[in-house]
Symmetry: C2
Subunit: 202 residues, 2 copies
């Protein structure tokens, strides 16, 4: 699989993320994903060698979505507080746009032990960890800058970083789109969470 | 099952929570739980009719643990900010003490669709929802009081409540006890999270 997804690969991953989210990653099968696409398993296997490869690609894609949204708004010339607030807004908006991917990622943060893994599995796991760590580093940098700048309270940086990211990811747990919700609901939530995150650090 | 757990039931639930956490709720079996107890399946089935009943009991117990810790520290005569801070400290400390239960609960917040359920399953699910809602109401009350009092920022109460609770539950995602960690590490984290939660509201 190349680094950039083709349109066809993106469509398959969207379907896979939705199936993993709804049925759970252990239960969802390539058959389920093909059915939801209205396509053959052959089309999926043409791009992804196995269900594990699909799951890996979904988990790898999640931090890419948020990075694509956050990286362009980073502005190191701003005070860290404003910089963080812009990043947080972009992060939450991206999470809302790509919710199933993030719900799937969350299924991996709940203490499930890794099953015996092949070399390819371990290599994919390492890529996913690296993508996550590198994305988190964007926020680590701005939080560290805020502490050095005196704008943020000095506290354990790792605890602050991971706790604020979980705060910003809160909708992954409680949000599902509801018919009749105000059009700007997700925008309001993004603003509220960015405000809460900033206040939690300041 | 009566409302209060016997010592034997507590021991079984502790083992069940640990197995569900490690193996995942779908994969862990009553056999796994019996093995980890060094006991027979008969002993488990004497108290819990099925794996589903065990899982329900674990999920029901999680908010009972936090409620047992939080309810006694609530003091409505304090300013809401201090009251919230005391409750948050007690909550995080209880989460650390009963971590596997909360990791199992989290497996249910990631978009898994409920499988076809029996009447007994639905009744248990209703009890769990009621226990969670009633526990959350303790925090809802103090956050509402803080807003009315002018001590907390006025914002969407439900979003604030659920986001702050997820912030306080952050260690459920990233924490596993590590050999050689400072003895008061969890105490420090509890303090940091309570401070962050309070700041996020104020």
């Amino acid at each position: 699989m190349s680094e950039t997804l083709s349109e066809s690969q993106s469509e398959i991953l969207d379907a896979a993320a939705a199936c993993f989210m709804k049925l759970g990653v252990r239960v969802a099968s390539v058959d389920d994903i093909a059915r939801s696409l209205g396509s053959t398993k052959g089309r999926i296997y043409h791009h992804f060698v196995s269900k594990g490869a699909l799951l890996g690609a979904v988990r790898l894609q999640a931090p890419k979505f948020t990075r694509q949204a956050v990286a362009p708004v980073i502005d190191g010339t701003l005070p860290p507080g404003r910089n963080f607030h812009n990043m947080a807004l972009a992060h939450v908006a991206a999470v809302f746009r790509t919710l199933p991917y993030h719900k799937v990622v969350m299924q991996h943060y709940t203490g499930l032990e890794a099953k015996s893994a092949s070399d390819a599995d371990r290599a994919m796991e390492a890529r996913i960890q690296a993508a996550n760590a590198s994305y988190e580093d964007l926020f680590r940098a701005v939080i560290r800058a805020g502490m050095e700048h005196g704008e943020f309270r000095r506290q354990n940086l790792s605890v602050a970083l991971h706790s604020v990211l979980i705060l910003l990811n809160a909708p992954v747990f409680w949000y599902s789109p509801r018919p009749g919700e105000p059009e700007d609901f997700t925008v309001q939530v993004a603003r509220q969470l960015a405000d809460m995150g900033l206040a939690a650090l300041a």
